[in-house]
Every structure is written in structure tokens, then in C-alpha cells.
């Protein structure tokens, strides 16, 4: 009798838990096709190539990596259902048994090896080429569902790389059969690629064999390139699309005033200044610090982003990130007097003349440059604007052909080792072209990777951020909010704040509350 009561109670509790779990999925409804107004016409569909935030959202529809992130930045299993570390340099991944490509073929260890080899092939032009070639010693297929990766040295940030879109797993057989990753997609993601009609539409349909049980909710997604931001906003307001990316900041308040529309926001990208130490004044960190002290981020936040940006006194890591502290977040304040003193200490009491490069293609870059020009005038720095078209800007940035420049940068992934992508002297895309080299920074970055203990890593990155802020090779300015505007009845979209290239599968849980 007693056993029966206990059994019944346990079953009752289990049923309650299941119902509660169902209720907590917000009563999501299946069906419908989501129409998305995209701010760009994708230039390629290759998951390994960096193609801009908008195109990369598209790629996440069809691809998964071995790992993924939750919204707090924790790594979760994805195509790898589990992994172990027999030693500090070795990872063994067990591939999910039910993971299949969109053509029904199961995902195997060979596909994983092929994907990693592709990333490590210089001809691919992969975003993670340097990260992988500098980290990975050897990749071995143990069996159909098990793969071993041996690193050159222990690396606490390596797993985080496997949670990035650019580490997606593609089908070896499919690629070797002659398909082109640049204009077709064969992944394991929630949505199957159907067709790409350039300038007109990209069509995806639901993947019925998706390994995430119960997902996706949508029958499909249609992405319509609408490059002009006003046209895109009109398309949302008139109801022709359900969702748009990058609504212009000037209309955010107008959109939010409509009850039928919502903006999903996250602040994960900052306007920054890159300094070229070859320009003599910028060889001195005091001058770089002076410029940061002289810029009032609030003006940028108001004028450029219509109030939808947050002034920043720290580095790239946002408040609340495990690797930063409140003190670091308030390292810099707006202080033009201190700026003048620093300039005088550096030997420039009367300021100097300098050219500021910014792209004219994007209004936020140009307007930020104009604000900076105005503010630096007050401390005696005569800034001449060089407004260049985007292609020229990219090339000159890559070759280090500027005095200082406006750019936009942010976390690519939650792990603070993303800093190496900017400021490591040999690999940082900001540091290398201009020859910025700080031995302490390089050593701290290496130490951060080698340190496996999380508390010790936190301390290392605290010191790194302080060093970064003291040396100021990059002045981090206002952290802008990135918005995705959609109909209020579109639910479940994930706007990840901790890494715009990280896999959170933002559309997997989207549903429409009709």
C-alpha cells in the first residue's frame, strides 16, 4: 500500500513536471512561414567566411557546430553530444547519433575532420584559419561517431571556438560531389536551404529531422533583401514582412510606440578608434589615453544612435561578464582637463594635426568621426577627416594605412580570448597591420589560453583588460544597441549579447502567435 502511494505520487509529480515544462515553452504554436526583411543581399553562403552580421544570421539557419551557447554564454552540446579530455591537450568528441544533414545523411567523424581541414586550408579564407592552425596539432577519426582533436598546447579558449558559426560542420560527401559552399547550403540546422534568388529571396523550410527535439516551430523562413533601411522599416510597418534586422536607430522610438511591433535589443558592439603607433604622437600611450578621455561618449550615444547606445568606460567586455569587474568598467571617464594634461606630459601641449579615417558608406561611422573631430578640437588636436568608401577602408585598415580610424568592434564569442583577434601582435587584425606590439599583452593573452582554472583565468583577464585600457591601442567608445524589429506576435527570437559570431541558433525557437 505504501509502495503504491509512493509510486502514484511520483507519477503524479512527473506528469505535473511535464505539463509545467510544456507550459513554460510559452505554448508555442507550430506552423507559419516567417518573412524577414534582411539588411543585405548575402554575398555568399559559406559558413567559414566572415560575411557580415546580417549574412551570418542567415547561415545560422542551416548550420550547426559541434557546440553552441546558451544566452548566458555557457557552452552546450550541439552536434557533439558529449566530450571528454583524457589530458589537458586532448578532446574526444562524441557525435550525436541522431544528427543528420538535410539530405538525410548522418553526421560522421569524417565530416567533422573534413570541416576542420577546410578551415585549416589557407585557400578557404576561413575566419578561424589562424585560430585553428595555431591551436590544433592533429585530428584523428576514432570511429564513425568519435573524433579526437589534439592541441599543440593546452588551450582554455579552444572549446569556445567550436561554438562559433565559422566552425560549422559540413557534409564531406556533398562537397566532394561538386557542390559549392559559396552558393548552396548543406548543414544540420533547423532550416533546410531551398533556393537563393539573388536580390529577391532566400527560402528555407523546416528541417523535420532536426536533432533538437520539438524544434523548429516555423514551417519555413523567407529572407528578402531590403538594403535601404527606410524601405525595410516601411516593409515592417506595412506588414509585408514580420521581422527585420538592423532597424535604423532614428525610428526605434516610433517602432516601439506601436503595440503591434517590438524591438529585441542587445548592446554588443562598440564604436572604436584604432590607433596606428607609426604615427608619431600615437606611439605614446598617454596620447591615446588623452584622446579617450577627451571624447564624451554620451554625445555619440545621443547624436549618432539617438540615445540607443551606452557610454563605455571599460573595454569590450560588457558589465556582468565573468572576466571583467565594475572597476574596469569605470576605468575611463569623460575628462578633457585630464586629456590636456596627458597631452602636455607626452610633449604635445599645443596638440597636433592628424587624419581620422572613417568610411562614408555607413552613416554611423561618418557621424562618429564628425563628433570626434569636434571634441578633439577642444583639446587642441586638429583632426582632418578622411572619408573613404567601404572597400577602400577595409583595404587600408588591412594594410595599416591610416593615422587613426573609426571602426566598429565587439565580442565575437563569450570567451575573453577574443581579445587576441584584435590586439595580439602577430594575429590581431588591428595590431598586426600597424605593428602594434605590447609584450605584456601578448604574454597575458597566452597565459589566458594556457590557464584552465576559471578563477585564475578571471584574474588574468582582469589584468589584461587593465593593460589594454592603460595602453589603449583601441579606444572603446559608445556600446551601441543592436536591434531586431519584429511583429509582437513573433516570439522566441534570441538576440545574443556575448558574441555576434557565436552559435545560439537564434531562430530555432521562433514561433508566430497568430
Amino acid at each position: 500500500m505504501k509502495t503504491r502511494i509512493i509510486r502514484f505520487t511520483l507519477i503524479f509529480l512527473l506528469v505535473i513536471a511535464c505539463v509545467a515544462g510544456y507550459a513554460s515553452a510559452e505554448n508555442a504554436k507550430y506552423g507559419d512561414v516567417l518573412k524577414v526583411g534582411l539588411s543585405t543581399d548575402p554575398i555568399d553562403l559559406n559558413p567559414y567566411i566572415q560575411s557580415g552580421g546580417s549574412t551570418e544570421r542567415v547561415k545560422t539557419l542551416a548550420y550547426n557546430s559541434l557546440l553552441m551557447y546558451d544566452m548566458q554564454g555557457n557552452l552546450l552540446p550541439a552536434l557533439a553530444e558529449s566530450w571528454e579530455m583524457p589530458d589537458k591537450k586532448t578532446y574526444i568528441f562524441h557525435i550525436r547519433k541522431d544528427a543528420k544533414f538535410h539530405n538525410g545523411q548522418p553526421v560522421t567523424a569524417e565530416d567533422v575532420r573534413f570541416s576542420i581541414d577546410s578551415i585549416m586550408d589557407i585557400r578557404t579564407g576561413a575566419f578561424l584559419y589562424t585560430n585553428f592552425t595555431s591551436s590544433i596539432e592533429k585530428v584523428t577519426v576514432i570511429n564513425d561517431k568519435t573524433i579526437k582533436i589534439v592541441l599543440k598546447s593546452q588551450n582554455a579558449s579552444f572549446l569556445g571556438l567550436l561554438g562559433m558559426l565559422h566552425a560549422s560542420i559540413v557534409s564531406k560527401n556533398w562537397v566532394e560531389a561538386g557542390h559549392d559552399l559559396n552558393n548552396e547550403m548543406m548543414g544540420t540546422g533547423a532550416f533546410k536551404f531551398v533556393k537563393w534568388d539573388p536580390g529577391v529571396k532566400l527560402t528555407f523550410v523546416r528541417n523535420d529531422n532536426y536533432w533538437r527535439e520539438g524544434l523548429p516551430y516555423l514551417d519555413g523562413i523567407e529572407l528578402i533583401p531590403i538594403k535601404d533601411e527606410d524601405v525595410r522599416t516601411n516593409a515592417l510597418i506595412s506588414g509585408e514582412v514580420d521581422f527585420i534586422d538592423f532597424p535604423p536607430w532614428k525610428v526605434w522610438n516610433a517602432i516601439e510606440s506601436r503595440p503591434e511591433l517590438t524591438i529585441s535589443k542587445s548592446a554588443n558592439f562598440s564604436m572604436v578608434l584604432f590607433f596606428n603607433p607609426h604615427f608619431e604622437p600615437f606611439a605614446n600611450p598617454k596620447v591615446r589615453q588623452a584622446i579617450k578621455y577627451a571624447i564624451d561618449d554620451r554625445v555619440i550615444a545621443e547624436l549618432v544612435f539617438f540615445g540607443h547606445a551606452v557610454p563605455t568606460g571599460g573595454g569590450f567586455l560588457p558589465p556582468g561578464h565573468w572576466a571583467t569587474t565594475d572597476a574596469i568598467q569605470n576605468f575611463y571617464t569623460y575628462d578633457p582637463d585630464k586629456a590636456r594634461n596627458l597631452l602636455a606630459e607626452a610633449g604635445y601641449p599645443n596638440g597636433f594635426k592628424v587624419k581620422l579615417m572613417a568610411t562614408s558608406t555607413y552613416g554611423m561611422h561618418r557621424m562618429t568621426a564628425e563628433v570626434i573631430q569636434d571634441q578633439l578640437k577642444k583639446i587642441g588636436i586638429d583632426v582632418q577627416l578622411e572619408l573613404t568608401e567601404w572597400g577602400s577602408t577595409i583595404e587600408r585598415r588591412g594594410k595599416g594605412q591610416y593615422d587613426f580610424m573609426v571602426y566598429a568592434a565587439g565580442l565575437t564569442r563569450p570567451d575573453p580570448d577574443f581579445y587576441s583577434g584584435y590586439i595580439e601582435s602577430t594575429a590581431g587584425f588591428m595590431a598586426r597591420p600597424v605593428g602594434y606590439k605590447d609584450e605584456m599583452t601578448d604574454k597575458l593573452l597566452e597565459l589566458g589560453r594556457l590557464t584552465l582554472d576559471s578563477e585564475l583565468r578571471k584574474k588574468v583577464y582582469n589584468i589584461l583588460e587593465i593593460r589594454f585600457l592603460e595602453q589603449c591601442p583601441i579606444a572603446v567608445l559608445a556600446r551601441r544597441e543592436t536591434g531586431y524589429a519584429h511583429k509582437t506576435k513573433v516570439k522566441g527570437f534570441l538576440n545574443f549579447a556575448l558574441g555576434y559570431m557565436s552559435c545560439v541558433e537564434p531562430f530555432d525557437g521562433v514561433w508566430i502567435d497568430r
Binding site: P42, S51, N234
Partner: protein, 313 residues
């Protein structure tokens, strides 16, 4: 006529070749390396060099130029540097969509502008004043001005038509037409103004000539004089204008295509220019040059047919 036409065709081919060469040189010289744009933040000298090699961009200018010219002669425009898709089919799609906009706009402009111009020239002073006022208003409203107004009023506020986008005819004919209306209106309003003014001016000019007075004196009614004699002579400059305007529109639909998200040739070129997709830039510029040059030739020959006084020798 035939020797003239042949001579013009040969000259046209030479002109197109010169244009192709100039464009090839310009895109080779201008700053902005597509390898840097493709690689983005991960561009290093090694990865840039490897990508330039795989894309064939490291070859000397003359070899690249010769290869591309050879391809163009075979109507093979190559592939996009970015997505590797053959350019030819997409070029045909885009050209077709832009032509659809332009031809529809020109037909509408002609069907409205010519009768309005004739009416203005042959009617009362009040009617003439009214029509002239509207045509001047039309002339003051190029697509960059009238386009956003049309898009907002008809697309967003009144929701008469979808505010932007495109559906192919094969997918949905009525949907396709619905998307077509606003961009065509946006292009046509300005052109209606021009054609109306030109037609009015030509008709007024010819209606005062001796032959028209003689015809009237011989007993023909005003309408008979107008439609049998005056119009034929008046239309020659108008057709020339329509031909020229079509060519200009071909090069200038970028505002309309952007405003209404119409995936035509202009936006194809602009996007390619931003990212330095050289094969697409060359293909589009060449196509526009060919169309423009031969359109001019066609107009010249048509004028010769319409006006027997014109002798090409």
C-alpha cells in the same frame, strides 16, 4: 541606308571595346582589394595572397583583361568572385527586370505625354496652361523626390500596393504587377512631364509652318491638318527624345530600384562596386554600353525611316 548602318555598327563595336578597356583599367586601379573585403577581419598578407592567387587576381592586368575579353566574346561573363555563381544568367534576369521597369515607364509616359502635349498645343489657352503647369510639376519631381512620396502614401499609409519587393511573373502574375506599379509611376511622372513639353513644343512649331497653313487653306479641318501632316513631322524629335530617355533611364534606375527594392541591373552593379566584384562590374557596364550604343543607332535609323528627307550616305 545599309552602308551607313554597317558603318555605325562597326563604330559601335569599337566604342564598346574602348568602354570595356577603360572600365577594366579603372577597376584595376581604384583602391579596394576584393581579397581584403572577402577575408574581412582575418585578412593577413598570407591569406590575401592565397586568395588573390585562387581568384586569379595576382595576374598582370593585360592577362586578366585578355582572359575576360575572350570570355565576353563568347558571351561568358565568368563567375562572381564571392559566391562563384555564373554571372550570365543573373545578368539576364536583372537586365530583364530593369528593362521591364523602363519599357513600361516609357510606354506609360508616351501614352500619357504625347496626347497631353498634342492637346495642349491644339486646345484653348486655359487647357494649355493647365497641362503645361502639370507637366512642369512632373518635371520637378524626379524619382528621387516622387519615389519616397509614392512609396509612403501608396505603400505604407493607404496600403494600395506592397511598399517594396519583387515577385516573378511565373510565381504570381498579379503579385508581380502589384509590385511593378509604384516603381513605374516613380519613373514615369518625370518623363511624362518631359514628353508633354516636347510634344507641345514640336506640335506648336509645326502647326505654324507654311505647309500646315496651306493644308488648312485647301479646306482640311484643324484635326485633319494635325493628324495627317503636323503630327508626323512633330514626332521625330519626340521619338528621338524617347530613345535618348530610355538610354538615360537604363543608367539611372538605381534610385527607383533601391527605393522599391526592385532587384534590377542598377542594384546589381552598385552591390558589385561596393565589394569590388570585378567580373560583375565589367559585365554590367559592358551590357549597359551595348544597349545604349545600339539604342542610339536604332533611334537614328528609325528617324531615317520616318523622315524620307533624311538621307544617310
Amino acid at each position: 541606308m545599309f552602308p551607313y548602318a554597317l558603318r555605325r555598327i562597326v563604330l559601335s563595336i569599337i566604342t564598346i571595346l574602348i568602354i570595356f578597356t577603360i572600365v577594366s583599367l579603372i577597376i584595376y586601379i581604384i583602391p579596394g582589394d576584393p581579397a581584403y573585403i572577402i577575408l574581412g577581419d582575418r585578412a593577413t598578407p598570407e591569406t590575401v595572397a592565397a586568395l588573390r592567387t585562387s581568384l586569379g587576381l595576382n595576374r598582370p592586368f593585360f592577362i586578366q583583361y585578355y582572359d575576360r575579353l575572350k570570355g565576353v566574346m563568347r558571351l561568358d561573363f565568368g563567375k562572381s568572385l564571392y559566391d562563384n555563381r555564373p554571372i550570365g544568367p543573373e545578368l539576364v534576369n536583372r537586365l530583364g527586370r530593369t528593362f521591364e521597369l523602363i519599357i513600361t515607364a516609357m510606354i506609360l509616359s508616351s501614352l500619357v505625354g504625347i496626347p497631353l502635349g498634342i492637346w495642349a498645343a491644339s486646345s484653348t489657352k486655359f487647357t494649355d496652361l493647365l497641362i503645361s503647369t502639370f507637366s512642369i510639376i512632373g518635371l520637378s519631381l524626379p524619382s528621387i523626390v516622387i519615389g519616397p512620396i509614392i512609396a509612403f502614401l501608396m505603400g505604407v499609409k493607404w496600403k494600395i500596393f506592397p511598399s517594396s519587393g519583387f515577385i516573378s511573373i511565373e510565381t504570381n502574375l498579379s503579385g508581380h504587377l502589384a509590385f511593378l506599379v509604384m516603381p513605374v509611376l516613380s519613373l514615369a511622372i518625370f518623363t511624362i512631364g518631359i514628353i508633354t513639353r516636347m510634344t507641345r513644343s514640336c506640335v506648336l512649331d509645326n502647326i505654324r509652318k507654311d505647309y500646315a497653313r496651306t493644308a488648312k487653306a485647301k479646306g482640311l479641318t484643324g484635326a485633319q491638318v494635325l493628324f495627317r501632316h503636323v503630327l508626323k513631322n512633330s514626332m521625330i524629335p519626340v521619338f528621338t527624345l524617347i530613345g535618348m530617355r530610355t538610354g538615360v533611364m537604363l543608367a539611372g534606375t538605381v534610385i527607383t530600384e533601391t527605393l522599391f527594392n526592385w532587384p534590377g541591373l542598377s542594384t546589381f552593379l552598385i552591390d558589385a562596386a561596393y565589394r569590388r566584384d570585378y567580373p560583375i562590374i565589367q559585365a554590367v557596364v559592358l551590357t549597359v554600353a551595348v544597349v545604349f550604343v545600339f539604342l542610339n543607332l536604332l533611334v537614328d535609323l528609325l528617324v531615317g525611316v520616318l523622315d524620307p528627307r533624311i538621307k544617310y550616305n
